[in-house]
């Protein structure tokens, strides 16, 4: 066994053939790698670093020198202005709508994906359902925006948090169903069968077996869905009309179109509204790769 292992140790023909150029070539390679990495990190991080800097920079200083990343005279004035302007209210709106939409999608999606994994559907309806969910996931939301406006109007839910929570399901429910499928699949069927033989009903099995075992999956799905709902713009733009009901993305757009000059406050909102997401990004990192690997299954 060990003999086989020894022969399969990689041999590098080019370093063997040219022993003297080996060292310099390797370091040139490493240098190239770090240059490319540095360029990539700069491209993706610089705008965010810049945003954080401007949020603490006095307005006049930014206009005179926009290339500096750190403020010469740091100030909290932009955040104070935001606080007075009603930022906390918009933050609360966003929190309620995003968490509400996520919890609704997660609970309905969990039940549906459990059924899709565990139950025998008549006439292969499960495939039809999944295909339809997929089409909804891919559909441009603007396509259904006008009829949904009429629907919300009819229900008396225009310009309300409940209305938004409802229409956000267009994005969040299909996503939850697809993402949870693979986590439910990982729950061993034998555990449930044993419980079922001992007389545990559907609800007991769901609550005591499936839900705990899907915990990490539910947490990851919760965060992905929350980010989606937290950042949603189109439906908020179309269905909210009272400024005090606005969510944060909509609040941002207000500053872009009307107060072009208040860059400091704009970047302050950007920083504050993305902070929770950036913090959670660290946590979901390990699930991100798995999530995308899953799309292939």
């Amino acid at each position: 066994m060990s003999a086989i292992k020894q022969t399969s140790v990689p041999v590098f023909p080019d370093t063997v053939a040219a022993p003297f150029s080996g060292v310099s070539r390797l370091s040139a390679r490493t240098l190239g790698f770090y240059l490319a990495l540095g360029a990539a990190l700069t491209f993706f991080a610089l705008p965010i670093v810049w945003m954080a800097g401007i949020a603490f920079t006095p307005s006049g200083e930014y206009v005179s020198d926009s290339l500096s990343l750190l403020p010469a005279h740091p100030t909290l004035a932009h955040f104070e202005a935001l606080w007075r302007d009603g930022f906390p209210g918009r933050l609360a709106n966003t929190l309620i709508v995003a968490v509400g939409a996520t919890l609704l999608a997660l609970s309905l999606g969990f039940l549906a994906s459990y059924a899709l994994v565990r139950f025998r559907f008549p006439r292969r309806l499960d495939h039809t359902f999944l295909l339809l969910v997929l089409v909804i996931k891919m559909m441009p939301p603007i396509v259904v925006a006008i009829p949904l406006f009429q629907l919300l109007k009819g229900l008396g839910l225009l310009d309300s948090k409940l209305g938004l929570i409802l229409v956000y399901q267009v994005y969040t429910l299909p996503f939850c169903i697809w993402m949870l499928l693979s986590f439910v699949r990982d729950v061993p069927l034998s555990l449930e069968e044993a419980a079922s033989l001992e007389g545990a009903g559907l609800l007991r099995r769901l609550w005591h077996i499936v839900l705990p075992l899907c915990g990490p999956g539910l947490a990851a799905t919760f965060i992905f869905t929350l980010i989606m709902a937290w950042n949603e713009f189109l439906f908020a733009l179309l269905y909210l009309s009272t400024p005090s009901h606005f969510t944060l993305p909509l609040y941002v757009s207000n500053f872009i179109t009307e107060n072009e000059t208040f860059w400091g406050q704009l970047m302050g909102i950007g920083l504050l509204s993305s902070l929770p997401m950036l913090l959670m990004a660290g946590y979901v990192q390990r699930y991100l790769l798995r999530g995308f690997a899953m799309q292939m299954k």
Partner: protein
């Protein structure tokens, strides 16, 4: 063993099914009706007019521009994002010091709200005191009208999209790279395949499914483009950045031309369905 109780199945499926039906089947049926009608918004009356809306669309100069912009944005942006994402994934498919901290930095942009991204880049694109033009000036180059030059504006919007969403293509492809078994990589090395040749003949064929998936998902996503144009250019200058989503938004919510907006929405849905059909056939159908 699969569970068989019809009643329990109904209980589990009906909430999600009913909600989705209300939010999609009903709206799509409305669009189907409105697309072939003249809709009086104030009187809430509908009159069947056959293909009139589609005829009007075919003669609409803005609609033609919107289709052209949406398609060219979708094709070019998704190709660039997947190309860059592939390069990044190859870069990250090894161990190096600080990898644990570099990866989240690359992924951050996709956690941001599109509106926050647009706000940052709108400041960077500012002609007089934007970051980009100041950088150009300090290098001794001419400033650029990033958002107000009709030939430039769509590419400026594209750069923002590339910044925000290349990380997604990167993650999909990286997941593929890391699922290549180590012994295949070793075997390639012992055969003497190095550098470009090894990438071209061994790595690339193995991750082709992920590359195609990234391309498909990004093209479907970029095709919907709305937030960024809305926040950065509003469709201008002229109609150089008007997209299908923006066209429908303006017709429906600004001019209250519901028939025309519905006809355009129907066409857009058809194109999106064609794209999703490729996805479903390639990735979902293959499984069952």
């Amino acid at each position: 063993m699969l569970f068989r109780s019809r009643l329990q199945l109904l209980l589990l499926m009906s909430p999600a099914t009913l909600l989705l039906a209300m939010l999609t089947l009903y709206p799509i049926s409305q669009i189907l009706i409105n697309a072939f009608s003249y809709v009086d918004y104030v009187g809430a009356e509908r009159q069947f007019v056959g293909l009139d809306n589609f005829v009007e669309l075919s003669e609409d100069w803005f609609f033609a521009g919107a289709i052209k912009n949406s398609l060219s944005f979708s094709v070019l942006a998704s190709l660039l994002q997947v190309g860059l994402g592939l390069a990044l994934a190859v870069l990250f498919d090894r161990q190096f010091t600080g990898r644990r901290f570099a990866l989240p930095v690359i992924i951050y942009p996709m956690m941001l709200s599109t509106l926050v991204c647009s706000a940052i880049w709108r400041a960077w694109y500012h002609y007089d005191f934007g970051f980009l033009n100041n950088a150009l000036l300090s290098l001794g180059l001419e400033p650029v009208q990033w958002l107000f030059d009709p030939d430039m504006a769509l590419f400026s919007v594209m750069l923002v999209d590339i910044w925000q969403w290349t990380p997604m293509a990167f993650l999909i492809i990286l997941a593929g790279l890391q699922s290549i078994p180590a012994d295949i990589k070793d075997a390639a090395l012992t055969d003497g395949a190095r550098g470009w040749r090894r990438f071209r003949h061994i790595t690339l064929p193995l991750i082709m499914p992920q590359v195609l998936l990234a391309l498909l998902l990004r093209s479907i996503d970029t095709f919907k483009l709305f937030d960024k144009v809305y926040a950065l250019t509003g469709g201008g200058p002229g109609n150089s950045t008007e997209t299908l989503s923006l066209f429908i938004y303006k017709q429906g919510f600004k001019f209250f031309n519901l028939g025309l907006a519905s006809a355009a929405a129907l066409l857009m849905l058809a194109i999106a369905c064609a794209l999703s059909a490729v996805y479903a056939w390639r990735y979902v159908g293959a499984k069952s």
